[in-house]
């Protein structure tokens, strides 16, 4: 079981390889599931279009592998496996997108800048390395754990693993990591701004506040930066330069 789990886990890292508009993650999913499949019919079933968040794919893979082992070639069971796989993939993706992309990814970037800025300020060596390492660690520890635990639970418990996942306090994790990201973003922006090494502290404070207040009106950050560029052109034409 553990050898199968390790093999599927490593292959699950390639889930999105060959992502296409038509089949989405089908190629990667079929390759990751392949060690657990015995029949050509089962292999053909899992080359159909499939999409989920990559970090919850372990749970879907494990559950599907367990159900395929029990299906034993009966057509009714096989169609049930496909229906469950599709439903689980879609429903898990919503919460996982909000947790990993919407919360942990900004948290990782903010932590990386914060740690690098603190190390630089205190005079510790390798500030950039440790900042990057901290950012990668805060994201990958839960991401890899979600893949591994989901896969092993799915293989061991089948559908029971989906019930277990449904009881996890994911919304609380999302709220807390978003809050931590906000605090770290403010702290990192403040630390780098106060150092005056990139821009004056006043300029940094005005830009951060403008970003906060104008994000609702102007939209995404690229538009905000374009507006800043236009303001910079206007200011330079009036005699002010940075």
């Amino acid at each position: 079981m553990s050898a199968l789990c390790a093999r599927m886990f490593l292959r699950s890292l390639f889930l999105q390889t060959g992502f296409s508009d038509e089949s989405r993650q089908a190629l990667g999913f079929a390759w990751a599931l392949d060690p657990a499949l015995l029949s050509a019919q089962a292999r053909a079933r899992h080359l159909e279009s499939f999409n989920t968040n990559p970090y919850t794919a372990g749970l879907v893979l494990g559950t599907t592998a367990a159900l395929e082992a029990r299906a034993a070639g009966t057509p009714a069971s096989a169609s049930r496996v496909l229906a469950l796989k599709s439903a689980a993939g879609a429903s898990l993706a919503g919460a996982a997108d909000a947790l990993f992309w919407g919360s942990l990814r900004p948290l990782a970037a903010a932590l990386a800048v914060f740690v690098a800025a603190v190390f630089h300020r205190v005079g510790l060596p390798h500030a950039l390395f440790w900042g990057t390492f901290a950012g990668l660690a805060v994201f990958n520890a839960p991401a890899l754990a979600a893949r591994w635990i989901g896969l092993s639970k799915g293989l061991a418990e089948g559908e029971g693993a989906l019930v277990w996942a449904g009881g996890l306090p994911v919304q609380t994790w999302i709220r807390r990591s978003r809050l931590a990201a906000v605090i770290l973003l403010i702290a990192a922006a403040g630390l780098v701004g106060a150092s005056g090494s990139v821009a004056t502290p006043l300029f940094a404070a005005v830009a951060f506040t403008a970003g906060w207040l104008l994000s609702l009106v102007v939209g995404g950050p690229l538009r905000l930066v374009a507006v800043a560029g236009l303001l910079g052109v206007a200011a330079a034409a009036g005699g002010w330069t940075l």
Partner: protein, 197 residues
């Protein structure tokens, strides 16, 4: 060599992982270190991270390749062309936009891998899924390498001549945008996360 490093890191954006190795806060300092300018790389990496962090890869959505944007920007600023950071920032974002278009084009055609595997099964042969995965990875890396190298050579050659000829007001505006980018992006993102939490 730099294009190969950026291509390898770009695979993490969607093909392998993702483990965030492809994010600008990693790509910027790494490419900057390889070119002997780690702080410049980190600065550009953070600026591009700030403007692309809200781009979420949901449902295969892709508007800009942050990896290519950061890699090309740092290569242009810290490499042989030594462009000003503001010129490199704009050129990097343009390269990231072009790479996203190439990626979307490739996504429309990658179904061929699944079709080949299905055809093998229909003929009673073992589908060579590992080979299909490898060829998809190789095609992706090659496409990124071509876009990155072409963007570097084209933008570097053109901007090296044109940038100093631009009016000072335009260059100053671009400088203002790049310097403000990390704080504008951080402020906007903090407000968005605060509202959601």
């Amino acid at each position: 060599m730099i294009a190969a490093v950026i291509s390898a890191l770009e695979l993490d954006a969607a093909s392998v992982g993702p483990t965030l190795l492809s994010r600008p806060f990693v790509v910027g300092p790494l490419v900057g270190t390889l070119l002997g300018r780690p702080l410049l790389g980190a600065g550009l990496g953070v600026a591009i991270e700030a403007v692309t962090l809200e781009e979420l890869p949901l449902g295969g959505c892709l508007r800009i390749s942050a990896t290519v944007a950061a890699g090309v920007a740092v290569w242009l600023a810290a490499g042989p062309f030594a462009l000003p950071a503001e010129a490199a920032f704009i050129a990097g974002l343009a390269a990231g936009w072009v790479h996203a278009r190439v990626e979307l084009f490739m996504r429309g055609r990658r179904v061929v891998h699944v079709r080949r595997a299905q055809a093998s099964l229909a003929e009673g042969r073992e589908p060579r899924l590992g080979l299909e995965i490898s060829s998809a990875l190789a095609a992706q890396a090659l496409a990124t390498w071509v876009v990155t190298a072409a963007a570097f050579l084209a933008a570097g050659s053109v901007l090296e001549i044109l940038w100093p000829l631009l009016p000072e007001a335009l260059r100053s505006g671009a400088r203002c945008a790049v310097v403000a980018a990390p704080w504008l992006g951080a402020g906007g993102l903090a407000a968005s996360l605060w509202r959601k939490s």
